[in-house]
């Protein structure tokens, strides 16, 4: 059965696009048919993060408005056969997407893919609402940082009221993906802990992605971290999160505290 999942956050820059690309690649690598959809009309970036920026001919809006067929707009990944991208339009403004157009395209995608990952734009405007509108479940991406957690709470409220599921009185499954987590700073009390964020937002945890240099490297070359055979901590964390998304029970490995010289010398009192 096909699953439509929105990747959302409210706040910008927390890792929605990175997470969409990484989870999409991980699921597709496991043999699932996956389509990642960019909803950020006018400011598309999923194509760049996926390394497909020069292959976009038709986009989401062309399909939603009937100017192109979905099959013509889908870009198949060159590395993973079962991974596809539907790019946002760069030249149109965000009002070009209509509820009816999005509903029709999402409906078509459901018939073709096991997973449809909708990369939401930041904010709580039309684009963000359309990205979540037809989703079956949501991944809320947050950083362990006050403004991000606050915006996530706001988004959770919208997921429970502005989606088709919510309007039908059905449950909208929401899971938290905590990104840019720094175990050292968290354990020293400089950064919110995983438990702090979970307690405040009270939604289940999909995964914890440690702060990693590999993320920048991955976007530099246009290959999501989960595609690279050389496993990084962030890549592994995304792979595990993708397995959980697929229904497997995988314990959340809390990124272990890197032993710095300082913590080695002073042990637990390093804080």
């Amino acid at each position: 059965m096909s699953k439509v999942i929105v990747v959302t956050s409210g706040k910008g820059g927390v890792g929605k696009t990175t997470s969409t690309a990484s989870l999409g690649a991980a699921l597709a690598h496991g043999g699932q048919r996956v389509c990642v959809v960019d909803f950020d009309v006018g400011l598309r970036n999923l194509d760049l993060v996926m390394g497909a920026e020069r292959r976009v001919v038709f986009d989401f809006i062309n399909v939603a408005q009937g100017d192109a067929k979905l099959a013509q707009a889908l870009i198949r990944d060159k590395r993973i056969d079962t991974l596809h991208l539907l790019a946002a339009s760069q030249t149109r403004d965000k009002d070009a997407l209509t509820t009816e157009g999005v509903e029709r395209v999402i409906g078509e995608l459901r018939g073709m893919f096991d997973y449809v990952l909708c990369d939401s734009p930041a904010g709580i405007e039309r684009g963000a609402l359309l990205a979540m509108r037809f989703a079956d479940q949501a991944i809320v991406v947050a950083n362990p940082e006050v403004s991000s957690v606050r915006d996530s709470d706001r988004i959770i409220g919208l997921l429970d009221s502005k989606t088709l599921r919510a309007e039908r009185g059905e449950q909208m499954d929401k899971q938290l993906l905590l990104t840019r987590f720094d175990p050292v700073r968290s354990s020293s009390g400089e950064m919110l802990s995983i438990d702090d964020v979970l307690e405040i937002l009270s939604i289940p945890l999909l995964g914890v992605i440690p702060e990693s240099k590999e993320i920048l490297r991955a976007s530099n070359i246009g290959a999501p971290v989960t595609m690279n055979a050389s496993v990084s901590r962030a890549g592994l964390a995304y792979l595990e999160a993708a397995r959980r998304l697929g229904g497997e029970t995988v314990p959340v490995a809390v990124p272990d505290q890197k032993k710095t010289l300082f913590t080695r010398l002073f042990g637990r009192r390093a804080a």
Binding site: E53, R55, A68, A71, R76, L216
Partner: protein, 94 residues
């Protein structure tokens, strides 16, 4: 030698810079005032893509002006197995 290779394998910024330069050069033109070559390129791309599955990177459009004569040069690389294919088979499968 190994140090050199190590440095080379770690530095991805040049790749990022090159990707951005290519992309932005194209976007600045297509988002700003459009010249004829860009309009032609985009429309040709759309027309060809309607009928054949091909790599958009393999399309080059050049225009030359020399005196009274202008030439338009279009080069498309189409994989031979894609000739005659209407719509990508996999993508159209329900």
């Amino acid at each position: 030698m190994s140090l050199f290779r190590f440095l080379k394998s770690r530095s991805t910024a040049p790749v990022a810079r090159e990707r951005l330069q290519i992309l932005l050069a194209h976007e600045r033109v297509s988002l700003g005032p459009r010249d004829l070559v860009t309009i032609l390129r985009d429309e040709l791309l759309a027309t060809i893509a309607r009928h054949i599955e091909f790599d958009p990177e393999k399309l080059s459009v050049k225009m030359d002006r020399a005196g009274a004569m202008s030439t338009l040069e279009i080069e498309v690389e189409i994989p031979s197995d894609k000739v005659g294919v209407g719509v990508p088979a996999r993508a159209s499968a329900a």
